[in-house]
C-alpha cells in the first residue's frame, strides 16, 4: 500500500475500525512515517474523549479486588531508583553552586547526569533480577531456537514478578525490534519490545500471573512498537515455563 492509502486508514485505525490485515499494514507503516504518527496521536486523543463521554457507571468493588490480585507485592524491598536520581541531582547542583561553573561544564555535567539516570534505571532492573533469583519460588527457563544467543527468563509464580535476561543476541536490523510474548494456550500476549545493546547484557522486567502461561517466545517485529495482534513472524526463540 502507498503512503496515501495508508494515511487514509489512520482515522479508522484510531477508532479500531479496520480489518486485522489493514491494521497490521498501518502498524508496519507507522514507525517510518512521522506524519501518520502525528495524525494518529491527535485522532486517538479525540477517541479518548469519546470514551470519557460515556455516562459513568460505578464498577463493583469485587472487580477492584480481582484486578489488584493480579499485581502481587514483591517480597523484598528494592532500593528505589528515584532516591539515587535525587541524590545525583543534589550533588550536581552543589558542585555547580560551589564551583562557579561555565555553561559548557554545566552541559557536560547534565550529560553525565543523564547517563547516570540511565544507569540507575539499569541498576533497578538488575536489582529486580537479584530479588527474583533470591526468591525460593523463582524458576528459570532457557530460550532456544533458530538463533545463537544467551537468553533466559526468570519468573516467580508466587509474586508475579519476572524478567528476561538477554546477552549475545544479534541486532535485529534497523526498523526492527525483538518482541517478547507470553503464551497462554494459543493466545500470545505481548510483554514488551526491546533492542539488544552490543556488548551489554540487558534485563526486561515483566509482571504477569505466570500460572496462566505455558511458554515465552521472542519474535522479530517492525519497530519501534512491535505488533499489537500477535507475532507476525515465526518466533526465533522459545521457552517453556
Amino acid at each position: 500500500m502507498t503512503h496515501e492509502e495508508l494515511r487514509d486508514l489512520i482515522p479508522a485505525y484510531a477508532l479500531d475500525a479496520l480489518e486485522p490485515e489493514e491494521a497490521r499494514a498501518v502498524e508496519a507503516h507507522l514507525p517510518g512515517c512521522a506524519e501518520c504518527r502525528d495524525e494518529l496521536s491527535s485522532l486517538q486523543a479525540v477517541a479518548a474523549e469519546l470514551a470519557a463521554g460515556v455516562a459513568p457507571v460505578e464498577p463493583p468493588a469485587t472487580l477492584r479486588e480481582r484486578v489488584l490480585a493480579v499485581a502481587r507485592p514483591r517480597r523484598l524491598a528494592v532500593v528505589p531508583s528515584g532516591l539515587w536520581r535525587a541524590g545525583l541531582a543534589v550533588a550536581a547542583a552543589l558542585i555547580l553552586i560551589l564551583g562557579g561553573i561555565t555553561l559548557v561544564q554545566f552541559q557536560r555535567i547534565r550529560t553525565l547526569a543523564a547517563h547516570m539516570g540511565a544507569l540507575s534505571a539499569r541498576l533497578a532492573a538488575q536489582e529486580r533480577v537479584l530479588v527474583l533469583l533470591a526468591s525460593p519460588t523463582s524458576r528459570t527457563a532457557t530460550l532456544r531456537g533458530s538463533t545463537q544467543a544467551n537468553v533466559r527468563f526468570v519468573y516467580d509464580r508466587a509474586t508475579g514478578q519476572g524478567a528476561l535476561l538477554v546477552s549475545d543476541l544479534r541486532d535485529p536490523g534497523a526498523n526492527f525490534v525483538y518482541q517478547l510474548w507470553l503464551v497462554a494456550g494459543q493466545e500470545p500476549q505481548s510483554a514488551g519490545v526491546f533492542r539488544p545493546i552490543p556488548g551489554q547484557p540487558i534485563v526486561i522486567p515483566v509482571n504477569a500471573d505466570f500460572r496462566r502461561y505455558q511458554a515465552v517466545a521472542i519474535s522479530v517485529e517492525q519497530g519501534p512498537q512491535g505488533s499489537s495482534a500477535g507475532p507476525t513472524t515465526v518466533p526465533i526463540l522459545n521457552g517453556t515455563i
Binding site: 470519557a52 460515556v54 460505578e58 484486578v67
Partner: protein, 204 residues
C-alpha cells in the same frame, strides 16, 4: 548575578528532569512505576480509570458481567505492558483509553461471532442503531461535539466507535461505498477534534 540566576534555573530544570526521569506528567510517571512493578501506582491507575473503562465496556457490550471481564482484561494488560508505553509518544490517558476501547471492540466482535449475526440479515433500522449507540453518552462536551457533525458523519463515527463495527461492515450496513465511509469518518473525526479543542480552551 543575572547569569548565575539563569544557570541556577537551568540546574533546577536539570535536577527535576533527572529526578523525574524526564518531563513527564503525573500519570505518565505512575505508568512508569507500574512498569517497574509498583502495586500502589497500579492501584492509583485503577482508581482513576476503572469507572470510565468499565462504563465504556458496559456501553459497548451491553451487559455488566462481560463488562467486568473486559475491564479486568484491560487492567491486566496495563499491568503487563506498562513498559511498552513511551511517554514521548502520546499521554497516559490516551494510551489507557485506547487500550480499553481496543479490548472492548475485540470482545464485541467475539460476541457477534458467537451470536453468528450475519450483517445482511440484521433487521434493526440503522437510525435505531445509531440512537442506541448514542444512549448514555452524556458528557456535555462530547454530546455537543457529536451534535456538530452532519448526521451522515455522526452515524459512521458512532457505529465505529461505540458499535465496534469495521469501516467495511459499516459500508455494507449502510449500503454506501467504502470510500464514502472513509471520508465521513475522517471529516467527522477532524471536526470533533476542532470542537473538543474549542471546548478545552473555554474551560481553561
Amino acid at each position: 548575578m543575572l547569569a548565575t540566576g539563569a544557570l541556577l534555573g537551568e540546574i533546577e530544570k536539570a535536577a527535576r528532569m533527572i529526578s523525574a526521569g524526564s518531563s513527564m506528567g503525573d500519570e505518565e510517571r505512575l505508568l512508569e512505576r507500574v512498569a517497574a512493578g509498583d502495586v500502589e501506582s497500579f492501584a492509583a491507575i485503577y482508581d482513576r480509570y476503572s469507572r470510565v473503562v468499565y462504563s465504556l465496556a458496559w456501553k459497548m457490550l451491553g451487559d455488566p458481567q462481560t463488562a467486568q471481564e473486559v475491564a479486568q482484561e484491560v487492567f491486566e494488560a496495563i499491568w503487563r505492558s506498562a513498559g511498552a508505553f513511551t511517554p514521548g509518544r502520546g499521554n497516559a490517558r490516551t494510551w489507557i483509553l485506547a487500550m480499553a476501547h481496543h479490548k472492548s471492540v475485540d470482545a464485541v466482535r467475539r460476541q457477534r461471532l458467537r451470536a453468528a449475526e450475519p450483517l445482511s440479515e440484521s433487521h434493526v433500522d440503522d437510525a435505531d442503531v445509531v440512537g442506541l449507540a448514542l444512549e448514555r453518552v452524556l458528557g456535555a462536551e462530547v454530546r455537543v461535539a457529536l451534535a456538530s457533525l452532519t448526521e451522515a458523519q455522526r452515524a459512521v463515527v458512532v457505529l465505529a466507535y461505540y458499535g465496534g463495527y469495521t469501516q467495511q461492515e459499516i459500508a455494507r450496513r449502510l449500503g454506501i461505498p467504502l470510500g464514502t465511509v472513509k471520508t465521513r469518518m475522517r471529516d467527522g473525526l477532524r471536526r470533533l477534534r476542532g470542537q473538543l479543542r474549542v471546548a478545552e480552551e473555554i474551560t481553561e
